[in-house]
Symmetry: C2
Subunit: 453 residues, 2 copies
């Protein structure tokens, strides 16, 4: 009834109110909000109110894609078209003992796929790829973009941390979410992950979405929801995306802790290593090779991956990347030269039986307590400390037999970590019948061909 | 399983997360949040996220009372126990042409009730008591607390604006809500109103909760919800509170605009004035006298109110208050001396028929456009401008007969206001059967005795 108001410029308050009232925001509104916030034209207190409205009202697929796109465009989007081959990355939502990235980047590069991997640090109870890489003496994760390109061109893979140029909106939003109780939203998690990954200039992305006691998403349905959101968002933006829902109900492999995990990575690249870690690397590698256009099927990609490990080509690529990024090759060729904790202590089993379950988050937290992760943002990480598991779920154990070995440098931290660990193993009298699959589901691109384990 | 964490001090993030997840907050948590925010120890961006969580998750009655109490205690709570008689105030949720406060404060004071009234300014399309009082030349609404007490002691009523000492948390929270889309929550509205009113040191409160096209709560169910919340919150804090749900589907009375409304107030105090305004003043006055302990029943209170008007005692009290607060009595004794607009223009009816409905919010907005309210916070108010309605709902009207007269000082504003007004009247061919009651419902204290109209 009243005359239409004159076209006005963007007002953050209008966007907040719309989201509060459950009305879908337009792409333009989301772009304006993200861009104004990144440039400091909208204050934190308006954005935090909007973030809370998003947490409680959710977002449509269109809004999620628009948010991802706006965050992606807040900074530089790498153009890697000058490099040969398809560019494929892998991203994990975070777990305990998850060191697959260090295996997969050189493995896929050895097959001819380019892997421009920008990773993060440990968050909460989970380990971070950058912290693991830095356990290799001299390894530099802080390369400028030009150097990142140079290493990629030279060996096909490069692993660095987020640069100031990539998705600055995400850095600013993430810091605000962290202090305003607005981290836990699949829409915001999706936009945060996908904006950074798509800014890498990739053609395809393999997502490893963890579920179980050591994952952020303990419930499989939540992991599936996030996976579907990320796959659809990536596809809307013209990328090939597949998500594997994988098991994180116990640590992956046997080693938890930065240098210890590098040891296990080298074992896998030499054709050994624990079965679950090796299997997951082959599965994710199969997908990376398939999406990277060097394998016709995922199965073919897995077979190629096995061969690249058996031939030593994957390890050679890892060695080359370490060298190009300043790492000390002596520690790669002789893992005993990696940082080592001064002391070890074993945790004996209190009884005879079978490992029924593990509290993987508690094990991850125990590693953080030892100094392997950060309790506060400003903490430094001790690369040497960690936990070696001698038993996994379903294994038989006798009373007194070691469940785990704690590698530590400070007695008081070891005592606190041990307390956590003691409560992390549930031992049953009877053998465990159920076996959780390693790959729960595959979502997205030609998913049917990968739903096996 | 993990050892209990040491008792830590208050963390805003925990309170935000709890509210986000729909968990009831404790009184201590709410008190800590309000007190830390008032003292600048919690930043705006955390509180705005919390406010949005409150808007979308709601609050329990206990939380609402705790929030009201914390806001009330953020500043000075007046102790008026040295003054004789019960202290009773009236508060309206805001409407168009609602000038009852100017009638009721002196009316109740004339009956022996003490009325310590702290009011606000116009908000959105609604008028504000302070703006109306300031249409009286010289009238000072900015009295310090000591002077407020002195006027109260001298004449039994005093009408001022919010002081820095009263509920500073509300001022800070309100400013934040205004820019973060978190105004529209009954819980936050209740806490804001009740914290300020209870800080006045009153014994009882009569709430006039408006519903209809000119109210903030257009739907009666929303008005009733807010009314029940305020009544219960007041009662939990040991006060007698009653809420009348009253009609705001058309402006109250015929005058909209600050000086024009003072004219109508003087008419009512002289025993005249429009029927709806006069009736509502008597109804609210009846309640104030009853809760103030000078009338056994509301009906008795209404009769006393009629007599106090007829005898001129209510007008004398108004005159005395104006004098004590620095107002020019010549403008009260001869309302022609109140500020007057330079020009008038009439709005003729486009057709013959009956007034079916009015868009009261549009009429209020037309008055704001004329300069009678603020389009932006920093605008000054023109006391002289406004709108005089010649017809009310159900009235018969002939084509060309004036519907309203616009009092204006600026041609361009008048043109914009006229456009709004033209769209504010719906004229039907047939007589209007339905009649909306003036008092829809009475909620709270001995409500049954007042549910009549």
């Amino acid at each position: 009834m009243s005359p239409a108001p004159a076209l006005t410029s963007f007002r953050a308050i209008d966007v907040i109110r719309k989201k509060r009232d459950g009305i879908e925001l337009s792409r333009g509104e989301i772009e304006s909000l993200v861009s104004s916030y990144t440039h400091g034209d909208v204050p934190d207190y308006q954005v935090s109110a909007w973030l809370m409205a998003v947490v409680l009202r959710g977002m449509t697929r269109g809004e999620t894609a628009a948010l991802t796109d706006a965050m992606l465009r807040s900074g530089e989007v790498l153009d890697l078209s000058a490099l040969s081959g398809k560019k494929v990355d892998k991203h994990s939502t975070g777990g305990v003992g998850d060191k697959t990235s260090l295996v997969l980047a050189p493995l896929a590069a050895a097959a001819g796929v380019t892997v421009p991997m920008i990773s993060g640090r440990g968050l909460g109870h989970t380990g971070g790829t950058l912290d693991k890489l830095e356990a290799i003496p001299g390894f530099n994760v802080n390369l400028p973009v030009a150097e990142f390109r140079r290493v990629l061109a030279a060996c096909g893979c490069c692993m660095i941390g987020q640069t100031a140029e990539i998705a600055p909106a995400d850095r600013k939003l993430y810091a605000l979410r962290d202090v305003t109780g607005t981290v836990e939203s699949p829409y915001l998690i999706c936009a945060s992950i996908m904006s950074k990954k798509l800014a890498e200039g990739i053609d395809a992305l393999v997502l490893d979405v963890k579920t179980g006691s050591g994952a952020f998403m303990k419930k499989e349905e939540d992991a599936v929801f996030l996976a579907e959101l990320m796959v659809e968002t990536g596809e809307r933006m013209g990328k090939q995306v597949v998500a594997l829902i994988t098991d994180m109900d116990q640590p992956l492999g046997c080693m938890v802790g930065n240098a210890l995990e590098v040891v296990e990575v080298i074992e896998v690249l030499h054709g050994g290593g624990p079965d679950d870690l090796r299997q997951l690397c082959l599965e994710l590698g199969g997908w990376m090779l398939h999406l990277g256009g060097v394998a016709n099927t995922v199965e073919d990609g897995k077979k190629q991956s096995e061969k690249l490990i058996a031939s030593g080509k994957a390890f050679d690529k890892f060695r080359r990347m370490v060298e190009l990024q300043g790492g000390d090759l002596r520690a790669i060729d002789d893992p005993k030269k990696l940082p080592k904790a001064q002391h070890t202590m074993t945790l004996p089993s209190p009884k005879t039986g079978y490992i029924a379950s593990m509290q993987a988050e508690q094990i991850g937290t125990a590693c953080v307590i030892l100094g392997g992760g950060r309790e506060r943002k400003e903490d430094s990480v001790d690369p040497a400390v960690g936990i070696v598991l001698h038993k996994k779920i379903r294994d038989a154990v006798s009373a007194g037999e070691p469940l785990a070995t704690i590698h530590y440098n400070a007695e008081s931290r070891a005592a606190r970590a041990r307390q956590r660990l003691e409560q992390s193993f549930q031992i049953a009298a009877a053998p465990i019948r159920e076996k959780r699959p390693l790959i729960h589901r595959v979502i997205g691109h030609e998913a049917e061909s990968g739903a096996k384990n």
